[in-house]
């Protein structure tokens, strides 16, 4: 059966090549049957890669231990759930997963775009198929998931496999990689439309309108994937970290930051016809950062708990990136005449200039993360000095930039397009500004002495106040007009302009996450060896070791500490941190015990046991729950953005005399 899978990948490779040739020849030769044939080739590629993926999944689920991939990433005792997740648990399988998602996206683009975008679609198909060919090259010729175990050229099998890394056997880790991949791969679609628009010299912003929802959904997948990884780290690694600026974490953040900049600056193009070149650059940067992130994770040039083992695929990625970036740069430079701005900035204090600063900060964050990630590599290359670069250094670099971004989050949306009057500034910012100063003074008077936390919480208040004022003013107007309650009026207001008010909700989610991050300097830690019956203290909590129990399943041995928790003399119940030792992988994992509240989390890791003595690591993490609340609000806000507005709007371009008419002639 593995031969069928390998054959399906080879066929998919050949048909992808055909899709490119047919689409390009059909478009250039004006032969619709060829372009249609190219689109159908995309569907055929999806069918073939699905067949290959189906065979791999079947082999994983049935435990076909003849196959090297199955033997390396599953064992017979693993639950079915994790056997399925082993599809993306290793290098070969996850690259096939990449290919499968890309082919699925390609099929969706072809099916939903039928009859539309006749000028763009052949180029879109050609570009998506080019990316597909790159990944199919890896799947079919470099790191095939269908290799079998052999001894003296005779196919053999092992009695049982190695199993999936126990650290990855956690629900969030099952969803986290697919979410990230859906994000990574999804940016190929707006990139393909953007490049198709350039190649075909298509006028206007049709590529942006076509891919707006696609970009938002992809951005959502990427963001959700990142935060699921964060949740996994917090709950599984046993020390309560949720972001360590690990190279692989950074690799996922880079395209997300670039895409966030794109989602903002694209509004300038939609509403004002400005920043056309910049938007092309941003979407291309987003896509290539996705490929770069995949390269970082898989090439082995940097070390990470998340990275795959070293493999020979790095040079293929470098080649693909070099060719892709060179072609994109040439294309953008060649089409500069078609990307001229239709308007000019009219005022320093305007929504437009706030978008410029927003883009600057987001891109600066992106560059700083990229710089920090590659710094040890560059440093060793040029000075031979090994560099230690951990979260502390990244935080010092990134926190000031993040705070400025938070400030812009509050200020930017309240500036008017074109010009903002002083009266408007006073109206919008007076009370939030005063409130922010009061909060900062109150925090300082209350004994808080961490400047970044004070500034962050003050800014959080400021941004939340501006958002609430926006909702309140609009909904009160509806309330007075229609006599409905404030809440229904607020829903009505949001429904009228989902993009604007959904955007505010997304900002609110970010603010809540900043509140969570602001609590970090106040973390409390206690590590102790505690005898059964004895107690230890962390913060205001008292932990009494009531019992130590142990047992085993077919997959692992477990140890549980039963702890009676109390706070200020009041019993809070029992917590049961557990540690597991997986027999086949010979690896231990922590199943931490967590008491979650909005003000703080009590987090306990059962680190070790010697006789009747337990080693406990106990932490109090203030405000951390707000991070997860913020994620939920951010996801909700993004969904609101995707709902069509009740009031259909079109935005007339404010044309600056003498500018719009200088646009290059349109050739189709």
């Amino acid at each position: 059966m593995e031969n069928v899978g390998a054959l399906a990948l080879l066929l998919a490779f050949c048909i992808s090549l055909y899709a490119i040739v047919a689409s390009v020849a059909g478009r250039l030769g004006n032969k619709p049957f060829l372009t249609l044939s190219g689109e159908r080739a995309v569907l055929a590629v999806w069918l073939l890669i699905s067949t290959a993926a189906g065979i791999l999944i079947y082999s994983l689920m049935t435990g076909d231990m003849r196959m090297a991939y199955v033997a390396s990433h599953t064992n017979r005792a693993m639950p079915k759930f994790y056997k399925f997740a082993a599809w993306w648990g290793g290098q070969e399988g996850s690259l096939l997963f990449w290919s499968w998602i890309l082919s699925t996206y390609g099929a969706v683009v072809v099916l939903t775009g039928r009859g539309k975008h006749r000028m763009l679609m052949p180029w879109v198909v050609a570009i998506l198929s080019s990316v597909q060919i790159f990944f199919l090259t890896l799947n079919a010729f470099v790191v095939s998931p269908f290799q079998v175990l052999a001894l003296d050229r005779v196919v053999t099998s092992v009695p049982d496999g190695m199993g999936l890394n126990p650290l990855l056997q956690y629900w969030a880790m099952v969803i986290h990689p697919p979410m990230l991949y859906l994000g990574y791969v999804g940016f190929a679609v707006p990139f393909a439309f953007a490049m198709a628009s350039l190649i075909s010299k298509a006028p206007g912003d049709s590529w942006i309108h076509t891919t707006r929802r696609w970009t938002i959904v992809t951005w959502l997948f990427q963001g959700t994937g990142i935060m699921l990884g964060s949740a996994w780290a917090y709950h599984v690694l046993g020390w309560g970290g949720y972001w360590m600026w690990d190279p692989v974490e950074n690799a996922s953040l880079l395209p997300w930051l670039a895409a966030t900049a794109f989602l903002h600056s694209v509004m300038m193009q939609e509403k004002k016809g400005m920043m056309k070149v910049w938007n092309m650059v941003l979407i291309a940067a987003t896509f290539f950062l996705c490929i770069y992130g995949t390269f970082l994770t898989r090439s082995g040039i940097i070390s990470s708990v998340h990275a795959f083992a070293e493999s020979p695929i790095g040079k293929y990625f470098v080649g693909f990136l070099a060719i892709g970036i060179a072609a994109t740069v040439w294309l953008i430079l060649d089409r500069l005449d078609y990307l001229k701005s239709e308007a000019e900035l009219e005022s320093v204090v305007s929504r437009e200039s706030s978008f410029l600063f927003n883009n600057l900060i987001l891109l600066a964050s992106c560059f700083a993360v990229l710089w920090g990630t590659m710094f040890p590599v560059l440093s060793e290359k040029f000075s031979t000095e090994k560099i230690s670069l951990d979260a502390v250094w990244f935080n010092r670099l990134m926190v000031p930039i993040g705070l400025f971004l938070l400030f812009l989050t509050g200020v930017g949306p309240l500036f008017a397009w074109r010009r903002t009057s002083m009266e408007s500034l006073r109206k919008n910012f007076q009370w939030p500004g005063i409130g922010m100063l009061v909060v900062v003074a109150a925090l300082y008077a209350g004994g808080m002495r961490y400047p970044y936390s004070i500034i962050s919480l003050g800014l959080c208040f400021f941004v939340l106040a501006t958002i609430f004022m926006e909702f309140f003013r609009g909904s009160r107007a509806i309330n007075e007009k229609t006599n409905v309650g404030l809440i229904p009026a607020m829903i009505e207001l949001t429904h009228r302009n989902t993009r604007r008010y959904g955007g505010y909700l997304v900002h609110m989610g970010m603010v809540l996450m900043f509140i969570g991050w602001s609590g970090h300097p106040f973390n409390q830690t206690a590590i102790g060896e505690v005898n059964k019956g004895d107690t230890m203290r962390v913060g205001s909590y008292l932990l009494k070791v009531a019992d130590l129990t142990q047992g085993e399943t077919s997959d692992y041995q477990w140890d549980t500490a039963i702890l009676e928790v109390s706070k200020n003399g009041k019993s809070l119940g029992i917590l049961e941190p557990t540690r597991r030792f997986y027999k086949i992988a010979q690896q231990g994992t922590a199943e931490v015990a967590l008491r979650t509240r909005l003000n703080e989390d009590l987090y306990i890791n059962y680190a070790a046991r010697v006789g009747d003595k337990a080693t406990l690591q106990a932490y109090v993490f203030p405000l951390v729950t707000w991070i997860w609340v913020g994620v939920v609000v951010l996801i909700g806000g993004t969904f609101v953005c995707l709902v069509p507005s009740k009031v259909a709007r079109s935005y007339p371009r404010t044309e600056v005399v003498g500018i719009a008419k200088t646009n290059a002639p349109v050739k189709v």
């Binding site: 070293e310 900060i361 600066a364 710094f375 590599v377 230690s388 070790a608 404010t654 600056v656």
Partner: protein
């Protein structure tokens, strides 16, 4: 020096015993020290940032437990790092990043800010005449009834202050 070596040997032995109990010691404090120590497992020679703080190999995991134990003995970060250097030589030490780590991102930020300020400076005192393409300013509603409704709300909103 000899005393330091003996105490280090003692710590290694006790750490080995500790490691056999499969402790899962992962904390900010341990990682803080671990970032200054290079992995010595030999399997990640191609890897330029294989720090002991993150590695999952046969060197890193016991070494983290060892650091944890040393911290419990009251040793400072510098003493722990010195103990590792005494055992493995200077090659094990990882330096803090130099000033380029700071300077380059902030210079790029500054260059970007200057570029924006130059663009904005051009704007000051230069307000080209505006010619609305369809209608000026606010968005246009496709439905005239809804447009009237929206206008009424905007008038009400303007009176709020």
């Amino acid at each position: 020096m000899l005393r330091l070596k003996f105490s280090f040997l003692f710590l290694i032995l006790s750490a080995t015993i500790w490691a056999q109990s499969e402790a899962q010691i992962e904390s900010d404090e341990v990682k803080r020290v671990g970032t200054h120590i290079n992995c010595q497992c030999g399997a990640c020679t191609e890897n330029v940032n294989c720090m002991m703080s993150a590695g999952q190999c046969h060197f890193c995991k016991p070494a983290r437990t060892q650091i944890f134990k040393m911290q419990r003995e009251g040793m400072s970060d510098a003493q722990i790092v010195q103990a590792f250097i005494a055992e493995y030589g200077e090659k094990i030490f990882r330096h803090d990043p130099n000033s380029y780590f700071w300077v380059v991102p902030y210079i790029s930020l500054g260059v970007g800010a200057i570029a924006i300020l130059l663009i904005l400076r051009r704007v000051r005192g230069h307000h080209p005449p505006l010619k609305p393409a369809v209608a000026g300013g606010p968005p246009v509603d496709d439905d005239p009834t809804l447009a009237r409704y929206r206008d009424a709300i905007e008038k009400d909103t303007a009176k709020l202050d």
